[in-house]
């Protein structure tokens, strides 16, 4: 083998070796790349799977959240149409329902709307607190639902106002029967937070009269009928009639005048003497509120006191009477007392004591000369709070009298609750004395009761000498009535007071003379 042939062979061999190594490098690089690609592929696959899982989770979460939101939306819709406290439909849903019902029924009288308002709800709220008031409303809601039945729609409109829609009755008697059923079911006492609470309900009924009747008109009419029911007699129902609107407006005008009356000084305190039954000596006067309206004239207390109580004006009026009576009494002989009536409504606010103290302090009248007269209905409300108030008054020296004794339900038990200073026998017994045996027996028993319990007994409404004589014989302590004097303005009491101051007694009352004294 020559060098000439060897050299190219060596070069060729070297070239082959190089090519083999390059091929090996390329192969190795390709294999590395493939391995890397495979592992990348696996990683991507894993990633893709977890992404798919994430996506599935996300979709499920979205589905769930959508369902939750839908539930919430439906719940919100439900709440928007429900009264949260009672669970009954609210005013919104009531309006919707009423409009639908009216659209469907075109016969007159086919739809009856009963507008119901609780009697005494405010007193429950004021005396026992809002929690008790709420519990009462819940209870009322339950009873209404139960009494109304499935075919009748009951809703709570606001506060203590409820409405019931009945269809297909066509005759007023059906609506009336339903109203009576509802009133009856609410008359049963409610057991709330360990208390027995009595309320009642008044209902205004409106029936559709023609096909065009709007929900608003029907509700307005029912409201007017309700108003009438409340004014006339609570715990009853009234069926709307067109003339009622006039009465309602009249009542509203009266309310307006009443509010203005206090500011315009249209009120005046009249006085009626209280006398010793035996010697006939004057012991004091009962203060009686009078309202002299420039157009209405003298408005009887029975015509405006209940309204003042209802609209809450009684608190201001009561405070004014207390102050006026105490101030007037300061002008009398120091042994004469002044008796002032307190309304049960005044006891529902804590301001009563402030009003009494302020009347005494402003006038300078000794507390012992002030008598406060309450009726048993005062004790029928929140007994404990009322008793506290009465004891506080007593502690200061004020005398407390039980007024209209015998006309309530359970007067005797109230005598046990509080040590009254005086019982005032209702005029009905005095007037019945001569006619029926029952009255004189009751008077006798009350006087005996007074003696036994060391409570003075006064007879109201004494109009004849015969009555006076009988009461004196029976041992009644004090007398009051037209026989001695009707209630008169302070200015007209001058002569009577002068007589008392001179003689210390009205020995033989001369009604005519007294009445004529000016």
């Amino acid at each position: 083998m020559s060098l000439a042939t060897d050299a190219p062979t060596a070069v060729l061999l070297d070239q082959v070796r190089r090519l083999e190594r390059r091929l090996a490098r390329q192969t190795s690089a390709r294999e590395q790349a493939e391995t890397l690609l495979e592992s990348k592929s696996l990683a991507l696959h894993e990633l893709n799977r977890s992404l798919a899982q994430l996506n599935a989770n996300l979709e499920q979460r979205v589905t769930e959240r959508t369902r939750e939101l839908d539930d919430e939306r439906r719940h919100a819709l439900f709440l928007a149409e429900r009264d949260l406290l009672t669970g009954l439909p609210n005013r919104l849903m009531f309006g919707k329902h009423l409009r639908q019902v009216l659209e469907r029924s075109h016969r007159p009288g086919a739809v009856a709307l009963l507008y119901l308002d609780l009697d005494g709800f405010k007193a429950v709220n004021d005396s026992f607190g809002h929690a008790c008031g709420d519990a009462l409303l819940k209870g009322v809601g339950k009873r209404l639902s139960a009494a109304a039945g499935a075919s009748i729609f009951a809703a709570r409109l606001s506060g203590d106002e409820f409405a019931v829609v009945a269809c297909g009755g066509e005759r007023p008697e059906h609506a009336a029967a339903l109203a009576e059923r509802l009133i009856a079911t609410l008359q049963h006492p409610f057991e709330l937070e360990g208390r027995t609470v009595h309320v009642g309900a008044s209902i205004g009924i409106a029936l559709t009269t023609d096909a065009e009747e709007s929900a608003e008109t029907l509700l307005h009419n029912a409201d007017i009928a309700l108003y009438r029911a409340k004014v006339r007699q609570r715990g009853t129902w009234e069926l709307f009639s067109p003339e009622m609107d006039g009465e309602r407006l009249a009542r509203l005008a009266l309310e307006r005048d009443l509010r203005a009356g206090l500011a315009k000084q249209q009120f005046e305190v009249f006085y009626q003497p209280l006398l010793e039954a035996g010697a006939g000596g004057l012991v004091g006067f009962e203060a009686l509120l009078r309202w002299k309206h420039p157009v209405r004239g003298m408005v009887p207390p029975a015509a405006f006191i209940p309204i003042a109580e209802e609209i809450g004006l009684i608190h201001e009026i009561g405070a004014w009477v207390l102050k006026q009576a105490c101030t007037d009494a300061m002008g009398w002989a120091p042994e004469l007392r002044v008796a002032v009536n307190l309304s049960p409504v005044q006891f529902t606010r804590s301001t009563l004591l402030d009003h009494v103290w302020s009347a005494l302090d402003a006038s300078g009248l000794a507390a012992q000369r002030l008598e406060l007269e309450i009726t048993e209905s005062v004790l029928m409300q929140d007994g404990e709070a009322t008793l506290d108030t009465l004891h506080t008054m007593r502690a200061r020296g004020i005398r407390i009298s039980m007024d209209d004794f015998g006309t309530g339900y359970s007067s005797l038990s109230y005598l046990r609750l509080f040590p009254f200073d005086k019982i005032k026998i209702d005029r009905s017994f005095v007037q019945g004395m001569a006619k029926d045996e029952g009255s004189i027996e009751i008077i006798r028993a009350v006087i005996g009761l007074g003696r036994a319990l060391n409570i003075k007994v006064l007879a109201e409404g004494v109009e004849t000498n015969e009555q006076r004589e009988m009461l004196r014989v029976e041992g009644c302590d004090e007398l009051q009535g037209y026989l001695f004097s009707k209630p008169r303005p302070l200015a007209e009491m001058g002569s009577l007071l002068a007589t008392v101051l001179q003689s210390g007694a009205i020995a033989e009352p001369a009604p005519e003379a007294l009445r004529g004294a000016a």
Binding site: R18, R21, R22, A24, R25, A29, A33, L36, L37
Partner: protein, 182 residues
């Protein structure tokens, strides 16, 4: 170090010195394997050093000169890969200041785990740009080569000066590029 650096080095060496030179330096570097590299793989930096040393021995050129030339090659490859990033209209300084952006947008998406160097502009006037070159490897000569490649790309004669510098990020190389009249 990304395999791409090795494959580019071999491409550069083959272009300059022929395929046999690639075989030779691989052999001379005494690598623990047969010298097969794939661009997406990762390999020890030491292997790159061994290859470069082998190359300097084979060519007789200094390491900085070798790196310088390789840097220029790298820049040319970038232009080839993403010409829109390196249009001549951008001007030299804008191109240099845009290198990091190129790395982050174009390189990172292919090589998410690459340890990329950074060119941060420190000061710039109309005629002069001061760049900080940050790299975890001592390859400032490579950076100079890149800048030279860029200057050649836009046909702009420059003067360059390098100095070691330190700041809060640590040690780096400050490169001042001054434009020369052509």
């Amino acid at each position: 170090m990304k395999g791409l650096v090795f494959t580019e080095l071999f491409r550069h060496v083959e272009a300059l010195h022929g395929a046999n030179m690639v075989d030779d330096i691989i052999e001379a570097a005494q690598l623990p394997h047969d010298g097969g590299y794939t661009s997406i793989g990762s390999y020890p930096f030491q292997e790159a050093v061994a290859l470069l040393v082998a190359l300097t021995r084979a060519t007789g050129k200094s390491l900085p000169d070798t790196l310088d030339a390789f840097g220029t090659h790298c820049f040319e490859r970038w232009v080839n890969y993403a010409p829109h990033f390196f249009t001549q209209q951008r001007g030299l300084f804008d191109i240099l200041e845009g290198i990091d952006d190129f790395h982050e947008t174009e390189v990172r998406k292919l090589y998410p785990d690459a340890e990329l160097p950074s060119f941060l502009s420190e000061q710039r006037t109309e005629r002069q740009l001061t760049l900080g070159y940050y790299s975890c490897k001592p390859l400032s000569a490579l950076a100079v080569g890149v800048i030279k490649g860029a200057a050649a790309h836009v046909q702009q004669p420059v003067h360059m000066a390098c100095e070691p510098a330190t700041n809060a990020r640590g040690a780096y190389t400050r490169i001042t590029i001054t434009l020369l009249d052509s």
